[in-house]
Amino acid sequence: MDALAPLIAAAMNAGTPLMLAALGLLINEKSGVINLGSEGMMLVAAALGFALTVQTGSTAVGFAGGAVVGALMAGLFAWLVVWLGANQIACGLALSLFGVGLSASIGLPYVGATIQASTWSVPVLSGIPFVGPALFQHHPMVYGALGLSVLLSLFLYRTRAGLVLRAVGESPESAHALGYPVRRIRLAALLFGGACCGLAGAFMSLVYTPMWVENMVAGRGWIALALTPFATWRPLRVLIGAYLFGGITILTYHMQALGVPIASQLLSMLPYLATILVLVLISRNVDWIRINMPASLGRVFNPNS
């Protein structure tokens, strides 16, 4: 039983970057824009966040830098996609490919560098046997991600601004006719999504590993993209999906440690195969996706035409 506590803790840790990124992407997609650049933004934020933390010794600076660079990259994407009306799929891919190269150059001097691992824990609660080590000895960002999913759920379904955002995603023409600045709202959503992906990337290199290795995000940006339809674009379901995938990742490590006679490479395939399986299961019913998906997802909106 006590062996289970570190497993739960590790699953939460592994699920957090997925959750942060998927929540950001969810807000993007609620506004009607799909950003395939998540992998690139996460990578650059991971490299830059790690570099800043090594330089300053402060993880807070690292996280802030990651969020800012993520938002900057999303801003470039927004300019191309929302203002110039360029192809969203192609621009997102460009952002991801660009991010792979940029992060490798930023991170190069920091390969092999080390930073202080986080030792923060929730006061009092972390002392409880079993529950403490499992749930209450995490980096604050883990709870930040949890709180974010609740906040976004309230924002989307309980506030006027959330309603406007959803309206822009469902029908930009109607939102425009009502006088809402569709393009600026989409820009704001994209900047927020970029910052979230940035935090997710910084979490990878500052807390989860903690170090910089080239291409260390290893497809988590893409898995996060698959989590939004999995969660039918609901923040609280993103939470479940992210922890589920975190659990799968940790299970593969754990099976290796237990000496299960399966090669490590085959075990490492599990999260990717699970993503495909999830995609197949949720996409099987076309109507279900169509009902839940923001109606204008992927479409260009030009207020002048």
């Binding site: 360029a86 460009a94 150059s105 085959l266 495909i276 197949v280």
Partner: protein, 354 residues
């Protein structure tokens, strides 16, 4: 203030000018990048863009890189035209390398007398089948379960790379290789013929043939017409009775097979054995090539030449200027960005408004 005004007709001239403009913008970004790291921009650009072209060796090395890039991007151009976003060419390439490698290791007894043209042809076919199989998984899941082909093909890239790593650490490993994770070197009879004195191999001929065939398909054959209509106007295509499922399967199998051949050519050409990393991301760079080449089979020939130049230029600036090798990836990304931004001018024009 500058503003964008829609054009009545898409500009044909801009469609040609835009890639050149993008290339110029990329070079301009390169100047700033070299300045930022304290290198002379003129020297940097000369090393990156000119030096590879100043020797026969440079040209032949570019040809070595053009082969996989062109093979992958011709298939991708067809896919993207039909609005099928297969972005897993890298995985299909890796699987082609695996199947071709398995075939060769099966029939190469190490005696030095095996192989020959028939065996090489069969090994290339094995590569094509491997790549096509990997792409068929994507097509099947999309066709049968409507699973998004972007994410599925991408996930399969990671699976293919892990599978390759598993095999070269296991059954494919050279028993006399001191435990290094790589297969033994293939016999001469299993290697693609090369241009004497260089590493330029038969793959480039196959790639050019593929581009030529794709051009014929699109411009002369009805199947290519159906494919283009399906991409541009799905509803019209359906009304005309053009099957979107056939386009999906045809494009995926075709592009998968081409990427598989690219993988086979890599291990039977410049590498000469199966190693854990058979490609420095050719499959991903091919996405950029396809767009820069206007999704046109002849355009991608030029685009893959430019992209190959970036690879060689990146290698040179690593050895000459001490720049990180990842500079190639940055240049590739900037090129695609600039192109996408410049392409806006095809359908719109700039107007000055006070």
């Amino acid at each position: 203030m500058l503003e964008l005004v829609p054009r009545a007709q898409p500009s044909r001239r801009m469609a040609w000018v835009s890639p050149l403009l993008a290339l110029a913008l990329t070079a301009l970004c390169g100047v700033f990048m070299f300045l930022a790291v304290g290198k002379s921009p003129l020297q940097g650009l000369a090393v990156f863009f000119i030096e590879p072209l100043s020797s026969l060796r440079g040209w032949s090395e570019i040809g070595v890189k053009v082969a996989p890039l062109l093979l992958c991007s011709v298939g991708l151009a067809l896919c993207f035209r039909a609005n099928i976003f297969n972005i897993g060419a890298e995985g299909q390439l890796v699987l082609g390398a695996i199947t071709a490698g398995a075939f060769i290791l099966q029939f190469d007894d190490g005696s030095g007398s095996g192989g020959g043209p028939l065996m090489i042809t069969l090994a290339l076919l094995a590569g094509a089948l491997g790549g096509a199989f990997w792409a068929a998984l994507v097509a099947w899941l999309r066709d049968r379960y409507h699973a998004n082909e972007i994410l599925v093909s991408l996930m399969l890239v990671y699976v293919a790379q892990l599978l390759l790593s598993y095999l070269v650490h296991g059954v494919m490993r050279d028993p006399d290789g001191f435990g290094f994770p790589q297969s033994r070197l293939f016999d001469q009879g299993f290697l693609l013929p090369v241009w004497p004195g260089t590493r330029l191999h038969l793959g480039i001929v196959l790639a050019l043939l593929a581009a030529l065939f794709a051009w014929l398909l699109l411009s002369r054959l009805f199947a290519g017409y159906r494919l283009t209509v399906g991409g541009l106007a799905p509803l019209a295509a359906r009304y005309a009775g053009f099957s979107s499922r056939r386009a999906l399967w045809g494009c995926m199998l075709g592009s998968g097979a081409l990427a598989g051949v690219a993988g086979a050519c890599e291990i039977m050409g410049p590498i000469g054995q199966v190693t854990p990393s058979v490609s420095p991301g050719y499959g991903f760079a091919a996405i950029i090539v396809a767009f820069v080449g206007r999704l046109h089979p002849i355009g991608v020939i030029f685009a893959s030449f430019i992209m190959a130049l970036f690879y060689i230029g990146g290698e040179l600036s690593q050895t000459r200027l001490g720049m990180p090798n990842a500079i190639t990836g940055i240049f590739q990304g900037i090129l695609l960005f600039s192109l996408l931004a410049c392409d806006v001018l095809i359908h719109q024009r700039l107007r000055w408004r006070r």
